[in-house]
């Protein structure tokens, strides 16, 4: 029974590690504010194309701290030629990240089709 303890411990570690927040590694989404790195983690980036050809992107993350934080994101869109698409929707948009909770926000492309997008996140400035 004593010999089994390390094995059980390892299994527990693996199981609990799997339950923890998995960090997203996607060049299209990044946290640019050093003060919240590690405290705010991005977990999922999903995109769908609607029937009228517009791309919608949903970003999911988690505030791992016990403190409410007001964050903001800025989404940039790139057309099929790889050029930046200027739009009034490319602006800093505030969103809440409640303590120890997941957050999500969604953005829609300004036109169809778009090739790519980039989203940056930071602590709200005011």
């Amino acid at each position: 029974m004593i010999k089994k303890t390390p094995v059980i411990f390892l299994l527990l570690l693996l199981v609990l590690g799997g339950c923890g927040s998995s960090k997203l590694n996607d060049r299209r989404a990044s946290i640019i504010d050093g003060s919240i790195k590690g405290k705010i983690v991005l977990q999922e980036l999903s995109s769908v194309i609607s029937s009228d050809g517009l791309m919608s992107v949903q970003v999911t993350g988690k505030n791992t701290t016990g403190r409410y934080r007001l964050l903001e994101y800025r989404m940039e869109w790139f057309g099929m030629d790889g050029m930046l698409v200027p739009t009034v929707m490319t602006r800093w948009v505030k969103f809440p990240a409640f303590e120890k909770s997941s957050f999500s926000f969604r953005a829609v492309a300004p036109k169809a089709p778009v090739k790519d997008f980039r989203v940056i996140i930071r602590k709200a400035q005011q």
Binding site: D52, T87, V88, M89, P110
Partner: protein
């Protein structure tokens, strides 16, 4: 002596003046104001366009583009606002989306651009090559109408604090049926000194 005084005065006053700087609209760290500024119009326009596109209200079945007419946008705030500050941003983005084209030939108080009608008077002129003059039955009537209202509410929070609430309400109506295809409201709330003016 007089020259010295003038130089001193010049130095004194130039030191007091706030230097003029350009606003970095992509990263404006300027403090919020109680009134409406360009950031509020950007927020309201961005939210409206995003909501319209996400809702699918401007996606014409079978493809193609809707023709949009701008109807009445009422400014019911205490501020002197040209509602085009809001509407123009929405128009630009809707046009760019490829889903909507705006008519300037139809408006509540006459066409926004009267030249389309005016140029048709050239039909009678022998000075103009008639094949280059706009023919009859070529103008496109609008499918949709955009109307709305900007509201303001001032609330006294305490003796020294006031809360100002702004509502940007917009409606997109299908002209053929009179039904609202999309409605949106953006809220912008500000709280600050009651000494600040919001008009």
């Amino acid at each position: 002596m007089k020259k010295l005084s003038a130089i001193l005065a010049l130095l004194f006053f130039s030191g007091c003046a706030t230097p003029v700087t350009h606003i970095d609209t992509n990263n404006d760290k300027g403090k919020a104001v109680m009134g409406l500024d360009y950031r509020d119009f950007q927020t309201a326009a961005g939210e409206a366009v995003s909501s319209m596109l996400q809702s699918g209200a401007v996606a014409k079945p079978g493809g193609g583009r809707y023709v949009l007419a701008i109807s009445r946008i009422v400014n019911d705030t205490m501020q002197r606002i040209d509602t085009d500050q809001l509407v123009k941003k929405i128009r630009v983005d809707l046009l760019q989306s490829g889903k909507v084209v705006v008519t300037t030939a139809v408006g509540l108080t006459g066409p926004e651009d009267p030249m389309a009608m005016k140029s048709r008077q050239l039909r009678q002129s022998a000075e103009f090559n008639q094949s280059t003059v706009a023919g009859t039955g070529q103008m496109i009537a609008p499918d949709l109408s955009l109307s709305g209202k900007l509201l303001q509410r001032n609330i006294r929070v305490s003796s020294g604090t006031q809360q100002v609430e702004y509502y940007f309400q917009l409606t997109l109506t299908d002209i053929s049926t009179g039904l609202a295809l999309w409605e949106g409201e953006s809220f912008i709330g500000k709280r600050g000194s009651s000494k600040s003016v919001s008009w």
